[in-house]
Amino acid sequence: MYSEKVMDHFEHPRNVGEIENASGVGTVGNAKCGDIMRIYLDIDESRIIRDVKFKTFGCGAAVATSSMATELVKGKSIQEAMQVTNKAVMEALDGLPPVKVHCSLLAEEAIHAALWDYAEKHGIKIEGLEKPKSDIHEDEEAEEEEY
């Protein structure tokens, strides 16, 4: 069902973890649908992404797309990172099954959400970047009430 590249990134995910005092953190998706991605960015003064880490709750494709997305943005400038679309992630993974395409969208959104967080913290505007659509925190709190 998955390409070899997807399986490789699932089996050996790159850049898993957290970054203390990250320049930007973005979390997208929600637990209800079974996918949550969190991206940590370490961006230096010349606005180059020096380091990137991720954590993902989700299926094989969700893990692989997060892993690939972190590889694609690492060492890149912010503007270059903005070019990392879901299509780019999918192509780098040699494709995804149709039902898993949303995972690649989530990976793109996670990068954007982390960049948005960075931009807000630094009071800058990144061209072409919009406020992330999904923020899980409100949902999450509401759901925990039901426990």
């Binding site: 209800k32 649908c33 079974g34 949550i36 991720f54 709750f57 299926c59």
Partner: protein, 401 residues
Amino acid sequence: MEKLIYLDNAATTRTAPEVVEAMLPYFTENYGNPSSVYSFASQNKNAVNMQREIIADALGAKSNEIYFTAGGSEADNWALKAAAEAYGEKGNHIITTKIEHHAILHTCEYLEKRGFEVTYLDVDEEGVVKLQDLEAAIRPTTILISVMYANNEIGTLQPMKEIGEIALAHGILFHTDAVQAFGQVPIHVDEYHIDMLSASGHKLNGPKGIGFLYIRKGVKIRSFVHGGAQERKRRAGTENVPGIIGLGTAVRRALKTMKTRTEKEKKLRDYLIDRVLAEIPYCRLNGHRTKRLPNNANFSFQFIEGESLLIRLDMKGICGSSGSACTSGSLDPSHVLLAIGLPHEIAHGSLRLTLGEDTTKEEMDYVVEALKEIVSGLRNMSPLYEDFIRKNNRQTYFMKG
């Protein structure tokens, strides 16, 4: 991957070698059409009827009450659609449960579009139908109660006898989908007042593509497939002779081994459950602790997602299944896990392991060790677990081991 550890026997089972052996002559040697007159073919009619008797005996039924079908889903479709049609004048109300197999649920939806009303009963948190809810749901127009014998995901066994008594007292037909239960637990159609029962061959080490519907004598039921006179004109089409022979052989075998097999499976199942619950934190057993199929274990592991878990298990040669959305091709996790009250994210992290006759204790140990490593690995990359740890181990929905 050195060795395959097959723990998905609720999905399908290995066809027993002696079952295959019994079937083989009916492809190349005894290939005659049972409806033909000459003795070469008509002996196949006897062979088919012998299997019918074996199955009837297994249920405490009569052989002319067993109708062969292409499997469990067909039997479920037939029972519901034909009963709705035959009893449509009496009423238009059907009672079933929220945890049925899709062969029942989607057939009910189909009937709803055609003017029938369906009550989907809730179950308790262990997956058991509440009898007072069933009583309360009965209307003068209720024509059918359909409750599965045992649930395919969480293994919970339903109070068949009590449900049968309620149906009988109200003069309502009682159908049960026994696809998972047949061959695993003793079933007696008279004792439980069952009017119709669906079962399938490949869940009990028989072949795929064959099953049957038991229809109590006297129950009005329409033909499902029109054509020839096979199956007392109710299900036309040349008999799947090798399949029927395979089914009968598998049933005879399953009954003979039931006691020792299920006792062994229960022991291993309990060993697996006890170890997993004791050794893996933030995990729970889904379904009833004791009123469950002897071979079924269903867990939820908090903070992780089922498909990831399945792929990692597969890398270690272990076959299981999950109720996560990703494995069902939809956005929602299993309807059964939601019906027992699990929040979505807990339902996404479910794992069903169903043992078989060949399962060993060594395999259970291997699976527990693999699970410990995999669950911990997936949690380490889960943002949900990260948040949880940050919130300093506050009380959660999960029981503490």
